[in-house]
């Protein structure tokens, strides 16, 4: 089919072979152009432009030539068919209007350059100054917006907003503030556990113990005070590592009976549609769906293209009700669990230490399993203990 005929519309007229000369001569005389003909033995077909088709039909009717319109096609015919369906037409018009209108609104905000501030925090700051999904682009004054956002937050050193198409690209540099120095008070290093000192690693302060010495819990190992006949007392924040042979005791108890979370298997969804920044609730209140439940928030963007977000999101709040039921584990399982917990505790306590001996005592009771462990090890027993100094009093003294 000729593309011009498809665009302008065409009519296929069919008539008997006996009238072929008459019809073709008529076409020539009246200047009626036909493009594609053909015959099936008994009939002849002519394909004409819509206007010529109408003229030929009226002429044939005047000349009493029987004919049959086999087909009408092309774009005008299609439009005529569409006009008979106002819903489709309205949909097309709405789509067109949306496409035109969509160029004026922000579809997506992309933030880059943030490290400590979250994207959500930045979007909230921007939203407070008028830049959010659905913001009217011609009404945006980006220079003013940038200044206002920078003034509203101390954490932003520089901010740039570039609107390209429907996407607002926000670049920022965060303020790098120096970390506040902690106020240090004078302190002693004391023993966190009793034991026999193996080695002392002094960083600052006055060492009061030496290798081979027995120390009790709470005893000062490195003093934060220097006593000098020439300068008097001088205070410092003692620091150091005191490795000592000590005994750590651990206790783990695992009961046979425990609470288990059992989901009922039901799930209640509360859906809402986020169009730009306007949430549209799609659910009705269902009341209390259970006493206890887990909530899962699912946000799905309706974009058909991955990586390109549209301002249309389906938010689902999924409620999963559960009940807490009593459950029982056998002693063997309880013992395994207790051992695992004990190992974790020992590993956490002896991060820098050296394990020498380990004695584990197991008590399998009627309702629980208890594990006790005495661990002989070489570990750092130093603990910082701050103290207050009354400077005036000291000066008088």
């Amino acid at each position: 089919m000729n593309p011009a005929y498809s665009i302008l519309g065409y009519t296929v007229v069919r008539f008997d072979f006996a009238y072929a000369e008459q019809v073709l001569n008529l076409c020539m005389r009246e200047g009626i152009v036909y493009l594609d003909g053909g015959s099936d033995g008994a009939c002849l077909r002519l394909c004409l432009r819509s206007g010529h088709g109408r003229r030929l039909c009226s002429l044939l009717a005047q000349a009493n030539v029987p004919f049959y319109i086999e087909k009408r096609g092309g774009l005008p015919q299609l439009l005529r068919r569409l006009l008979r369906r106002p819903g489709l037409l309205m949909g097309a018009l709405c789509a067109l209007a949306l496409i035109v209108a969509s160029e004026c609104f922000v579809f997506d905000i992309r933030v880059s350059g943030n490290s400590t501030l979250t994207e959500r925090e930045i979007k909230e700051l921007l939203s407070a100054q008028g830049l959010a999904k659905g913001a009217f682009i011609p009404g945006l004054d980006t220079d003013r917006l940038e200044n206002r956002v920078m003034l509203s937050s101390d954490k932003i050193a520089w901010l740039s907003v570039n609107v390209r198409g429907n996407v607002a690209n926000v670049e920022l540099i965060e303020q790098r503030l120096p970390e506040p120095k902690p106020v240090l008070k004078p302190a002693h290093v004391v023993a966190a556990h009793s034991g026999e000192v193996v080695a002392v690693e002094l960083y600052r302060g006055n060492v009061l113990v030496s290798a081979g010495e027995q120390v009790a819990k709470g005893e000062i190992l490195i003093a934060g005070v220097y006593d000098s006949a020439a300068t008097g007392f001088r205070f410092t924040r003692a620091a150091g590592k005191v490795m000592a042979r000590t005994v750590y005791s651990f206790r783990v108890e695992v009961a046979y009976e425990y609470q288990k979370k059992v989901y009922t298997g039901e799930a209640f969804d509360k859906k809402s549609l986020n169009f730009f920044s306007f949430p549209i609730k799609l659910f009705e209140s269902t009341g209390n769906c259970g006493t206890v439940y887990d909530i899962i928030d699912i946000v799905e963007n309706c974009s058909p293209v991955p990586g390109v977000d549209l301002p249309l999101e389906i938010c689902t709040e999924r409620y999963l009700p559960y009940t807490l039921e009593k459950a029982y584990r056998d002693p063997e399982a309880a013992l395994t669990l207790a051992h695992r917990q004990l190992t974790e505790q020992i590993e956490a306590a002896l991060a820098d230490g050296e394990l020498l001996e380990k004695h584990i005592y197991t008590e399998i009771g009627e309702s629980s399993v208890v594990l006790r462990a005495d661990v002989v090890c070489i570990a750092d027993i130093a603990a910082v203990q701050e103290f207050e100094v009354d400077i005036k009093k000291e000066a008088k003294g």
């Binding site: 072929a20 000369e21 076409c27 020539m28 200047g31 152009v33 053909g38």
Partner: protein, 99 residues
Amino acid sequence: MQRRKKDKRMGAVEWLERRFDITPDVFQGVRIEICGQHRLLVQGCTKILKYSEQEMLLDLGKLRLRVCGERLWCTSFISGALGVGGCIDSVSFIEGEHT
């Protein structure tokens, strides 16, 4: 006598065409082009006298043209220009009234 006169007149036209190198369609108003066996273009056709898939008889004014073949069909007929498609076996001129 009439026959002789006609032959003379035709001779004069032919002589003019040859003498001045004029293409015959200038005087006769007819031009026929055959492209292969499946396409025929006739300029100067005033009327289709007979139309069927095996034979077409065309009125060219003083002449008549018979086109014989298989599956013949008129592809176009505008301003005296007629296109014939199909499998063309023969093209011949006929003098006198069509019967």
